[in-house]
């Protein structure tokens, strides 16, 4: 298949066929990560800038490792997020970086739509590493990859996603990705964290965790931001965890062989009890490991992977 996308701005723009192709490509890179010498010359001479307007050690490191294993030159730039205060605009920042002729900019930004904004203004490829509450495509792909690894398939599975749906870019990308690949997606969270019309993206919405995870093949728990506590969204982390946290008892409602996922970092004792977080059903570290392979695949494909292969 010929992968035509210059940018990865969101899962929304990718077809089931393209998603499968990315996962298959990641499969071939996964093997590299287990070799003694974990490096291939695929992107030698290419420059990748990781432009992060929000702190995110996990995602940034994963992209950095992915770039380095492909032999690209990777540069990390952290910048302060946009504000209404006058100063250098996002366009200014981006143009300055572009003047150094990167091939790919991987960007994390606090404003929804920021990666699209960049892609419309620059000549290089843009990979979205999370924009506001909009999308986080590489996370959704590594989640799908991990599910496929453990379940052998995605079509026909039931995936429950529980937590702060409103503020989660991971959820939006996951709904697109998993529903397009044939899974049934169920959401649950307190009413204050369920945005209007989310079901239109291709999922079911449940009022409680129990209904969402009953007989599910996959249970994905979202991180709750402690700063939401006391704001009108939830009265306390304590009560949140009582109704929307996952412990061993509740997990019994899911299928016996259900896997438990979390985009990290975990709040132990809040969305996941320690027993579940360390239990046999959790695949959280697989997610992290697979993140590198999936990001290698994305960087490779936007850099014109097909061509490189033919050379």
């Amino acid at each position: 298949m010929n992968f035509q996308h210059k940018h990865i701005l969101g899962i929304e723009h990718l077809s089931a066929e393209e998603l499968t192709f990315i996962l298959d490509t990641a499969d071939s890179f996964k093997e590299i990560n287990t070799r003694d010498i974990k490096k291939v010359p695929t992107l030698r001479g290419k420059t990748i800038v990781n432009l992060f307007f929000e702190a995110s050690t996990r995602t940034r490191t994963s992209f950095e490792v992915a770039g380095k294993r492909l032999s690209a030159d990777t540069i990390n730039i952290s910048a302060s997020g946009s504000s209404v205060v006058k100063g250098e605009t996002l366009e200014d920042t981006a143009k300055n970086i572009e003047a150094m002729h990167p091939d790919i900019i991987v960007m994390r930004h606090n404003a929804s739509g920021a990666c699209r904004y960049l892609a419309e203004r620059l000549d290089c490829s843009v990979v979205n590493a999370g924009d506001g509450m909009h999308e986080h495509p590489s996370q959704a792909l590594l989640d799908a990859f991990t599910i496929r690894q453990h379940k052998g398939k995605i079509a026909g599975l039931t995936v429950a996603i529980v937590g702060d749906i409103t503020h989660s870019r991971v959820v939006r990308s996951n709904i697109y990705c998993l529903s397009r690949l044939g899974a049934k997606v169920r959401l649950a969270g307190p009413g204050t964290m369920l945005p209007p019309g989310i079901e239109k993206l291709g999922c079911e919405v449940h009022r409680n965790l129990e209904d969402a995870i009953r007989d599910a093949d996959v249970v994905m728990m979202l991180r709750i931001q402690r700063e939401r506590q006391g704001a009108p969204l939830i009265p306390s982390v304590r009560e949140y965890s009582r109704y929307f946290g996952l412990n061993e008892d509740k997990l019994k409602l899911a299928k016996k062989d259900a896997i438990v996922m979390h985009p990290g970092p975990i709040n132990r004792g809040v969305e996941l009890s320690t027993a579940v977080a360390d239990g046999p059903q959790n695949v959280i570290l697989d997610q992290v490991e697979n993140g590198v392979a999936v990001r290698m695949a994305l960087l490779y494909l936007v850099a014109g992977g097909e061509q490189l292969q033919n050379d």
Binding site: G113, E135, R172, K200
Partner: protein, 423 residues
Amino acid sequence: MKLLIKSGRVVDPVNKIDEKLDVLIVDGKIAELASNIDAGDAEVINAAGLIVTPGLIDMHVHLRDPGLEYKEDIVSGTRAAAAGGVTSVVCMPNTSPVNDNLAITRYITSKAKEEGSANVFPVGCITKGLKGEVLAEMGELKEGGCVGFSDDGLPVKDGEMMRRALEYANTFDAPIISHAEDLTLVAGGCMNEGPVSTELGLKGIPWAAEDAMTARDIMLAELTGAHLHVAHVSTRGSVELVRQAKTRGVRVTCEATPHHFMLTDEAVRNYDTNFKMNPPLRSADDVAAVRAGLADGTIDAIATDHAPHHIDEKNVEFAIAMNGVVGLETLLPLTLQLVGEKVLTLEQAIALVTCRPAGVLGLERGTLSVGAVADIALVNPNKEWTVDAQQLQSKSKNTSFDGQKMKGYAVRTLLAGQTVFER
């Protein structure tokens, strides 16, 4: 000075006129309307095939002068007005400094008189500095030329302050123009709340933020007997609240903008900041309700909320872009589009941009009655053209309709009998 406009289709809703007539203008006033006027020495304008209407009145405009001239000023703003067939502009007070004192009001009116291409009627602040704390000196401002009072851009949060403002403005026979928005419900939102905001991951503004404040203000108008004008209604609920209040006899009027009856929040999908305004673009259901409100007379005026912003204020991430779009130069075709779509009759449409806003604010404009000031728009209703933002007369190019096909425009605009625009 005599001017004869020959053979146009004269539409003057006040006088229920819609027929082919000649219009004779003498010394800047309408002298006669009749078929086949013979005024030997008059300059003649052939208006065959054109509609002759009172010059349009846009009762919600941000001219940005004084202080924000990098976005717009009285000269460029009134030039944009004239190009759109608009001869009277009602300008909002959120300038820098704000229009909460006589000196600013006089600056605006005198600059408009000397350098403007349209009449400018200022709106004064409700509260000093738009701070919501102390009433502005409305009596003196009214004497200086202000035609109403508004803290537009901001609601008057405090209930008692709004009540007193209505009572006090009523003393001087001036309406309070409410920018109805409960900021505690807006809570940082930047577009309409609904499936589109959910998908885009942008914080939404629920319709209830507008309806809740509209309801409060209508109750206060009912309580005080004062005249409330609700600016830019955009939701089904607020149209319905105004409709019910009118039935009860409350002195309430309201306006709607072309973008709120032409566009929905679907337009925001590309994160294009030229579709970011306040109130935000709403759902298709709200658009239908606004159109119904225009058709049944609940809505008294079409006003643009012309809000020029510099490219640097729009060329940013959606969440931090400034609110507002320009509108003076697309008001006429978008209003006529409602006639084309059979939402309004031509007479209704013209009334909504002439005599009805004049009635809301007590302006002696918006008619072609004999003796009236000859503010006139000559309109080619069938001319198809395409909006090119860069060609707009306004200093700012933030239109929602760039590249869109329009039908109809003013070919000539007269201000007190003088041509201020011609194409």
